[in-house]
């Protein structure tokens, strides 16, 4: 829950502009980007995702570092990732 997971924005959902499809560790998921409405991310940009919402934009290097940190955490990250994979918010 506290873990910020980096994801790369792929595209926005045409009928729901506050939702975007992102790539998280090779898995495509839909997340909410409404909290970044002041400065929305573009496809190809990276965001830090908390419980299904993008909370901040990050650069690619930061995303790589965050991912390494998460992979180092092990089980908790795997559980979080599994939960994210099962998450169906759209």
């Amino acid at each position: 829950m506290c873990l910020g997971i980096p994801g790369e924005v792929i595209e926005f959902l045409p009928d729901q502009p506050d939702l975007a499809r992102v790539n998280v560790s090779g898995v495509r998921r839909v997340i909410n980007i409404g909290l970044l409405s002041d400065d929305p991310p573009k496809p190809g940009e990276w965001v830090l995702i908390h419980v299904g919402f993008a909370l901040s934009k990050i650069d690619e290097d930061e995303a790589a570092a965050a991912l390494e940190f998460l992979e180092g955490i092990g089980q908790a990250y795997e559980e979080e990732l599994r939960a994210l994979q099962e998450s169906m918010i759209e």
Binding site: M1, L3, N32, D59, A83
Partner: protein, 375 residues
């Protein structure tokens, strides 16, 4: 992976450690608190305490939202979940937190409909799919998760959803820090400010710590070198007799936070007069409840909540650990009766809890070795 290596480079860590050691005044002891559980995790995992001079002690703070939920609120949630036609939804982290009658997992095994979700938005979907049920989302967390709950309530209101509500247990970090500053048990010299919470609230809410209490604050990232760099920045301020708020994690944390997120919280939630924190007791204006305007989404108004205060188990010393008065291993039940598999206290539940982090990486710090050889 250039960046990662850059943030893990052992030579750089040793160089920073040497600069930190140079800043120590002879004979002075320094106590620095890392507020966030994510930092605690990095510190134990990489054995950062071993890099620091003996004069510096890192004290682990209350920044793990699962760890500070009092038993009474877990019991309240279970009472809500047991109401007719209720589906309770919860983050996975919350599922193993013990109440006085077991955890959510235990209740689920007894037949209560409690479902694990990744996002509060998943709860909305469950509500849409089950119009004859009442879905209650167990909302927990600091300002990192509160905006998500707020956005979900706004969305539910927009959709006119009638069978969705939240049991709001969101807490705010600043009053907890203030409670620790006011506590006579502990004298701290400075703070490593939380990384993700600050993404939302920014750095300005910490200014009172520097201004009114004269303690430096450095908002820190989660890489080992981030933390060492932040400790260096704190020590530099202390050496120069300064106390200001600095942002070491500016590559993620904007100084003013996330305005959209703050607005969403402010629109849907307001401060409670007081709220109980596990181990820290009642803290004024330290938690959020649903605003009256959104009362139809407030489970505390829709259902009768027992609201009974339950004392923590006697053996458990989470309170002292959360305040940083005790190190995890100094708790009487640490690693014996209380383990991540069968936690008694909340600090052992979450991987970011100080006890679980310590248990999982099993580090014998210098201090421990010294204590062991002395006895």
């Amino acid at each position: 992976m250039r960046f990662v290596d850059e943030f893990r480079d052992a030579d750089k860590a040793h160089a920073l450690a040497a600069r930190i050691a140079d800043l120590c005044e002879p004979g002075r002891q320094y106590k620095l608190m890392e507020v966030c559980g994510g930092h605690t995790h990095t510190i134990y995992k990489h054995g950062l305490e071993d890099y620091l001079p003996e004069q510096i002690t890192l004290v682990h703070g209350p920044g793990c939202p699962v760890c500070v939920i009092p038993m009474g609120r877990v019991d309240d949630a279970m009472a809500l979940a047991a109401e007719p036609d209720v589906i309770m939804t919860s983050f996975g982290d919350m599922m193993r937190v013990p109440g006085s009658n077991g955890s959510f997992f235990d209740a689920k095994a007894r037949g209560t409909d409690i479902r694990m979700v990744y996002s509060p938005l998943d709860s909305l979907k469950i509500a849409r799919q089950n119009p004859d049920k009442r879905v209650v989302f167990m909302a927990i967390g600091f300002e990192t998760t509160a905006p998500s709950t707020a956005m979900t309530v706004l969305r539910a209101a927009n959709e006119g959803l009638k069978n969705f509500s939240i049991f709001c247990n969101h807490v705010t970090i600043v009053p907890a820090i203030k409670a620790i500053l006011d506590s006579p048990d502990l004298r701290l010299d400075g703070f490593l400010g939380p990384g993700h919470v600050s993404t939302v609230i920014g750095c300005r809410p910490y200014e009172f710590i520097a201004r009114d209490y004269g303690k430096p604050v450095v908002v820190a990232g989660f890489e080992p070198l981030d933390i060492l760099q932040s400790i260096y920045m704190l020590m530099l301020q202390l050496a120069n007799g300064q106390s200001t708020v600095e942002n070491q994690y500016s590559r993620v944390v904007p100084w003013h936070g996330n305005v959209v997120a703050l607005r969403a919280i402010g629109q849907t939630m307001e401060l409670r007069p007081y709220f109980e924190w596990r181990g820290l007791g009642f803290i004024s204006h330290s938690a959020l409840k649903v605003r009256e305007q959104y009362a139809s989404f407030d489970a505390e108004l829709l259902f009768s909540v027992p609201g009974v205060r339950v004392a923590d188990p006697k053996a458990c010393q989470c309170g002292e650990v959360l305040k940083g008065v005790l190190k995890p291993w100094e708790c009487k039940v640490f690693g014996t009766a209380c383990t991540p598999e069968t936690p008694i206290g909340t600090c052992m539940v979450s991987p970011e809890g100080a006890c679980a982090a310590y248990y999982n990486y099993g580090r014998l710090t210098r201090q421990r070795v010294k204590e062991a050889t002395r006895s």
